[in-house]
């Protein structure tokens, strides 16, 4: 796909390249070059992402937006309401648990499967088959993942049947509706549906590691574990850190999965920031406070993103 596209685009761009007769012009051009490369991205993100976000920030400072004909500026009142709401604190706690465990598990499963699938002692066909199997959970829309797991985990579902037949439990386990099991259960579903993505990225990263490094390590008599810790992990580190950050951000906004399996329940045990915000917006009908909650999340992740970028820079 990319291969066929390459020549076309190249042709398209070649004539646009600048005539470089004068040095000053050339220098100015050089300084503008990175912005040129960035311009399509910036135009798209500013129009379609930053604009709505700015509008949401505006909503968060008003009362009764959208749902009433008139609304007034109320300053930070909505923020106070969100930040002092114990339900919000609970949602943040659940979200951190959910996202934290998911990211760690995605990484562990992702790297384990990627290493197995990358082994040179397997034939190409074998690898192709297993790679395809391991990527399966990723191919399904989250609505179906939710419905499927509701079916599997229901009190009369196949999982309970197996648990009972194998004698692990006398009665059926209420995976999703027992207040103490629901959060681990939705986290498990999220782990299932999300690890292939980590795996694919790590698999691609493994291709980029030069065999020379392993050979050198072997000559130094480094064992498999040492090689893994001193060659594989450091080489993959940039990918791992980026993936972990992104995965964390995405998992915190996972909405459909939670909504369609537990609806935030039982009681408030699986309430996440995303379901909390949704209920404010479309159930309580309070877009102002919902917007404030969204902005709080945005600020938190901006802090996260800031440290990430600083880390990237210091690494360079």
């Amino acid at each position: 796909m990319t291969a066929t596209l390459t020549p076309e685009v190249k042709e398209e761009h070649r004539p646009e390249e600048p005539p470089s007769s004068r040095v000053r012009l050339r220098r100015l051009w050089d300084r503008l070059t990175p912005y040129g490369f960035l311009s399509p991205t910036l135009v798209l993100l500013i129009i379609l992402m930053v604009t709505p976000i700015v509008m949401v920030i505006g909503y968060s400072l008003m009362d009764r937006v959208i749902t009433a004909p008139e609304s007034n500026f109320v300053g930070f009142e909505n923020y106070m309401q969100v930040l002092t709401d114990p339900a919000f604190a609970n949602a943040v706690g659940n979200t951190i648990y959910f996202a934290g465990i998911s990211v760690v598990a995605h990484f562990v499963l992702g790297i384990a499967f990627a290493l197995m699938l990358n082994s040179p002692i397997l034939g190409h066909k074998t690898k192709a088959i297993f790679r395809t199997v391991y990527i399966l959970p990723w191919l399904f829309t989250i609505a179906i993942v939710a419905v499927l797991w509701r079916m599997l985990l229901s009190p009369n579902g196949i999982v309970n049947y197996l648990v009972e037949t194998l004698g692990f439990s006398a009665g059926s386990v209420e995976w999703l509706s027992d207040p103490s099991l629901a959060l681990p259960a939705v986290t498990f579903i999220n782990i299932w549906s999300g690890y292939p993505f980590f795996m694919v990225s790590l698999l691609a990263g493994l291709q980029g590691i030069s065999r020379d490094l392993y050979e050198a390590a072997t000559i130094d008599r480094a064992g498999p574990i040492k090689q893994f810790l001193h060659v594989t992990i450091p080489q993959l580190k940039p990918i791992i850190i980026s993936m972990a950050l992104l995965d964390f951000i995405w998992t915190t906004q996972q909405f459909a999965l939670i909504w369609m399996t537990t609806g935030g329940g039982p009681i408030d045990r699986t309430e996440m920031v995303s379901t909390y915000t949704y209920k404010l917006a479309f159930s309580t009908y309070d877009f102002s406070v919902a917007s404030a909650a969204a902005v709080v999340v945005l600020v938190l992740s901006m802090v996260l993103a800031f440290f990430y970028v600083r880390h990237q820079k210091s690494r360079d």
């Binding site: 990319t2 002692i121 609505a143 009369n156 980029g208 030069s210």
Partner: protein, 297 residues
């Protein structure tokens, strides 16, 4: 993991006899395959159940004790979907939109990533922070202003409306990942082009992109899947069923009073088959990357 490194070790070692090496290799291979088969149960078993459900009647899906294959095994659910032009249209829309998003995202992202990876310029860090963090706003809260914007731009109920929307979702990730891949490539590669009088564009397209294909494939797969699976915006930004995608088609089977379980499952199975084939095809690029590494070694 042990297999990778041990294989390297045994080829470098000189002492053991040839048969020893072969035998040890074979044992390792069997152990690895056993591990892979066992591990495969994790992703595959729920999906086996999905496929089995798609051949059942709605009543049988909830039978207890559950059975993998029931006496009423039938293709009815598949026939119902494949003979309904509206549902086929959902499939076409999904592929068309996801395909376009993938191509365009990659095209736009490699340029942005090149800028981030190879240039220093004022505002770089702040643009980077913005690119990463805009993804964090829960999409559901953006829905209403976003919807107003799309209507205002005249993109409501059009393919470009959905395609551009998904690009906004997928670009940040694509840029971050492509920047990462470019960063792993030595700068000397594109310096060489510049010494020969080439411009940055030439360096990007002639040198960096060809060696980044594995990275681009995995970014592309991700992009495709996001566009393929998205539900909320796909529903809100479209008005008529001829513009809608598979996830909405599946949701339409979840009625107010009852679900068409078998058809939902069948539609998911049908939806993923072409993606699987696509994935099988693009795997060649992973393997390509691998053999290139082997040649170097």
């Amino acid at each position: 993991m042990t297999a990778v490194t041990a294989a390297g070790a045994s080829s470098a070692a000189t002492a053991p006899t040839r048969t020893d090496v072969v035998r040890r290799q074979r044992r390792k291979k069997i152990a690895l395959i056993v591990a892979l088969v066992l591990g495969a149960g994790f992703p595959a078993l729920p999906i086996v159940w999905m496929v089995s459900s798609s051949f059942k009647t709605n009543g049988e899906i909830f039978e207890y004790p559950p059975r993998l294959i029931t006496e009423n095994f039938s293709f009815d659910a598949y026939t119902a979907i494949l003979t309904d032009p509206e549902k086929l249209r959902f499939f076409f829309n999904s592929y068309f939109i996801a395909g376009s998003v993938t191509l365009l995202t990659l095209l736009v992202a490699v340029h942005a990533a090149y800028a981030f990876s190879r240039f220093e310029f004022p505002g770089k860090r702040i643009i980077n922070v913005v690119v990463i963090s805009v993804q964090a706003v829960p999409p559901i809260t953006l829905l209403i202003p976003y919807f107003g914007l799309v209507v205002a731009l005249g993109l409501y109920n059009t393919y470009p409306g959905l395609i551009l929307t998904y690009m906004v979702f997928t670009l940040p990730y694509a840029i971050i990942m492509m920047t990462g891949y470019f960063n792993t490539l030595p700068k000397e590669l594109d310096e060489a082009v510049k010494v020969d009088g080439g411009r940055p564009f030439t360096a990007l397209w002639k040198v960096l992109i060809p060696v980044s294909v594995p990275g681009m494939v995995s970014v592309g797969v991700y992009t495709f899947m996001i566009a393929w699976n998205e539900y909320l915006f796909a529903l809100t930004l479209t008005r008529t069923n001829d513009m809608r995608t598979v996830p909405i088609g599946i949701q339409l089977l979840m009625g107010q009073h009852a679900y068409e379980w078998n058809q939902m499952m069948a539609m998911s199975v049908l939806g993923c088959i072409p993606v699987l084939i696509l994935f099988l095809f693009f795997q060649r690029y992973f393997i390509g990357g691998m053999s290139a590494g082997a040649v170097k070694a």
